[in-house]
Symmetry: C2
Subunit: 518 residues, 2 copies
């Protein structure tokens, strides 16, 4: 009975998390979580990262998981704390990140009295979690935490939410529980890989739709071998958790956002092979528009499900095809720093020209950013992180967590102005932790994406409707926002000024914000 009477529940939870490889916790604690906070001083090894808002904590945990492949924990205060976190948990769940949420609650014996802060935490957690459990006592809290970690580490990555009533944390009798080694993801059978190989040998127009680990090495190189051998097309999903790109990596185009454009890309396709991806559908339905993106006469095949060993499946397929090792690089030349007006293309070329090696690009650039992705192919090797679930407000938190997960690499967050205002508090954590994040606010002072959406649903916007997508009244000053939270910042109204500020920010440690007027 190791640990009985020697530690309280909170300490057993903390030690169990550490034993399960979780050493970073994005926290916005309250009263019910004070025992966990206090245990941080007794148990070395956990890095607590204070966030001023729970949506920052959950989004940062997502970014951390993407860069490390391991779960981070969040520490949240009761139902209302989890409430602010769920939107970025939605994105994390869609992107298959690994997160363990620790949510405090009233003591088990107090909750039946329904004090003001009580709410149905399990009900709130369920839509955004693969696993939800409420702990019942200090003795089993460690085992509950072990189960949560095991869930979070299940391939390709899951969200586990453990609700810990305050007495389960402060009572003595905590027992550290062992955490099982994650079960490796299922391997695709040789027969399944061979079937796809047979299909590809027919040389009919075929698209391999990739996401997840298929977009990172070594999967990416094997995908390139396959495409070179068979002439099939590689395509990435519209959003991807982490995408390795730039010099030395295969260049893979991305599914367009708009359904017309997506259908055009797939128009001549006869076969779609899913590689960790799902069959693509329109992001939104619109009146009179098809919601399926694949041509009617095309067939969909599965090489690997998201929960299977996707890189191994690509390797098996490449071997089955006897594909040669990828023949040299087809890298585009690195662009020069461009001049002229500020456009998506010129900003992308500037970014490609100036981003440091192994930069991490966090992309919540929304409407302006649709052109940024393809034009950065010629950049040095870098990772590109999309906002994966369509819920805006992910960018600044993702950048924060990515910087903590990958120290020594510069994070560049391409951030639309409207979306930035959902989770601006992330800047404070960047300043506090001295994180190497350059945020570029793309300030067009409107919800520009909605202009197109008004037309797409057949609406005729009058002055009141137009007013609802105009965030330029009053104009916001993002330089002051950054400075308010201790982040150095400056405004750019020209490409040359953007180049100067971007280079400056990358030359020094810590965060910087550029408000780019577009």
């Amino acid at each position: 009975m190791r640990g009985v009477k020697a530690m309280n529940g909170a300490e057993s939870l903390l030690r169990t998390l550490l034993g399960g490889g979780i050493d970073t916790c994005f926290a916005n604690p309250g009263t019910s979580e004070m025992q966990f906070v206090a245990a941080l001083d007794r148990v070395p090894g956990m890095r607590p990262v204070l966030c001023l808002f729970e949506g920052v904590a959950s989004g940062a945990a997502d970014g951390y998981s993407r860069m490390t492949g391991r779960p981070a924990a969040t520490l949240l205060h009761c139902g209302p704390g989890l409430g602010y976190a769920v939107t970025n948990l939605h994105n994390a769940k869609r992107g298959a990140s690994s997160i363990v949420n620790i949510v405090g609650d009233h003591a088990t014996y107090h909750r039946p009295l329904d004090p003001p802060l009580a709410s149905d935490i399990e009900g709130l957690a369920r839509p955004f979690s693969h696993w939800v459990r409420t702990a019942t006592n200090a003795e089993t809290l460690g085992a509950d935490a072990a189960a949560a970690v095991e869930c979070a580490r299940t391939a390709p990555g899951q969200i586990a939410t453990l609700i810990a009533p305050s007495d389960t944390a402060w009572d003595d009798g905590g027992i550290v529980a062992p955490v099982s080694t994650p079960r490796p993801p299922d391997r695709v059978t040789i027969r399944d890989a061979d079937a796809i190989a047979t299909l590809l040998r027919r040389s009919e127009p075929t698209v391999l739709l990739l996401t997840g680990a298929a977009l990172r090495e070594p999967g990416l190189s094997d995908a390139k071998r396959i495409a070179d051998a068979c002439g099939c097309t590689l395509l990435a999903e519209f959003t991807n958790g982490r995408f390795q790109r730039g010099r030395g990596h295969a260049s893979v185009a991305r599914m367009p956002w708009g359904s017309d454009q997506a259908r055009a890309v797939l128009a001549d396709m006869r076969h779609l092979v899913l590689v960790g991806a799902r069959k693509p559908v329109a992001f939104f339905a619109h009146p009179g528009k098809p919601r399926q993106l694949c041509p009617e006469l095309s067939d969909v095949h599965v090489l690997a499900r998201p929960d299977q060993d996707v890189p191994e499946a690509l390797h098996q397929l490449a071997e089955a095809l006897k594909a040669k090792p990828s023949a040299g690089s087809d890298d585009l030349p690195r662009p020069e720093v461009p001049q002229g007006p500020i456009t998506p293309d010129s900003v992308a070329r500037l970014l490609a020209a100036l981003m440091p090696e192994q930069a991490i690009i966090v992309d919540e650039s929304v409407s302006f950013g649709r052109g940024l992705f393809s034009a950065t192919v010629g950049a040095p090797p870098h990772d590109w992180l999309h906002q994966t679930g369509g819920a805006i407000g992910a960018g600044l938190p993702l950048a924060t967590g990515a910087a903590i997960g990958a120290p020594g690499r510069r994070v560049i967050a391409l951030q639309a102005d409207g979306s930035a205002m959902y989770t601006p508090q992330a800047l404070w954590t960047q300043a506090r932790e001295c994180l190497d994040v350059t945020t570029v606010i793309l300030a067009n002072r409107k919800y520009a994406v909605l202009t197109g959406q008004l037309a797409a649903v057949g609406a005729q916007p009058g002055p009141r409707a137009s007013n609802m997508i105009d965030i330029g009244n009053p104009d916001m000053n993002f330089v002051k926002l950054a400075e308010m939270m201790g982040v150095e910042a400056a405004r750019a109204e020209s490409l040359s000024r953007l180049a100067e500020l971007l280079s400056y920010s990358c030359s020094r440690p810590g965060p910087f914000l550029i408000e780019l007027i577009i």
Copy 2:
């Protein structure tokens, strides 16, 4: 078949809301809600108020409902939009406000394809709503909206959430549905009132615990009559949606937050009479502390449940007791503007000295603010709005909605700095709508309430724990935050400067922010 083919679902929804008395909508719309936005130009009468964050929309709807007694609508984008709103819906539900949430969703026929933004919206809404429904077609969307309004208007106030898939909005065939007049709340029987009268005549130590309409006229005056006639004690719940106070109103103390202090206040009580209130319990349980606040030998009686006609019950009781009309005023003199150090007491006296007639005080002052309430009794008549559910981040949104619900009155938001950072985007809406809100940020640069809570749970905070409640690294500059969003602002480090800025802000229209260093 009025309206068939003449209007789409969105227009029928809008017209139904207007017919039900809802003329204000706090909105953060996205693609799925564009039809509602477009309908604003075809249907006059609805005031749309754009919010940059959904937690501002739900908190503002709460504040609006408190000041008008009528529901406002919110317009939110799918599950992730509702996600950011639920925390302030928790507060609104605890405070018995009336809100109709309109949540857009994917088209009915698109949702089964599980596009990225899809989530279990009903599951998310349920813990924070009295009523949840997903509309199925344009023809019945109006009737769904009518049911939502009827729910929201049910006494004492409820939260209704209507999920409207986008095709129910854009399809033709919308039908405006009539909204039933709200059923008046049940009246307390004469027998029940007589029983309480009999109890009070025994002159045993008795506390009348008031909340809701009992804290507003005419209920408040009848409560005073009863107390004067029987010598019982009037006490308000710890948090109250809207509390009429100041000159001409009965002075009613408030239940303390801490359970030791609350038990001390109730220690000699023999009977507790609930007047729209619930039996009080500790806000949090703490190790070794009782969680019940009433003395063991006391009895609890109910004059009126929250959903009953509380003012009428007080009136019946006063009549049953043959209580005389309240004898003159027991008003305390209005304080002078104090001098000396910045303390809760001096700030409260300053506030009482300078607040305009009919000011609306929004109180999310947390630890510093515990002393502000009682010391403002001598102020001119005013309303005091508490944060009702324990979920911080309510203050700035509440102030925003209260200002829209009560034009011509100055709102003074007493706002702790840590809590302010959950929903700072409210300042932008205040600037955009030119709302008469003075925000006083109480800047102590820490989560001060947690210092006490660490001790209360028996924790010994070391440096890492202390770091988790220190939000002064880096310091935040709230003047820049306000200016960032177009709100004039200044810092006060002395009482005289606070007096000067408060007076200045009340002398001019529009918002102002004072960062008070405490």
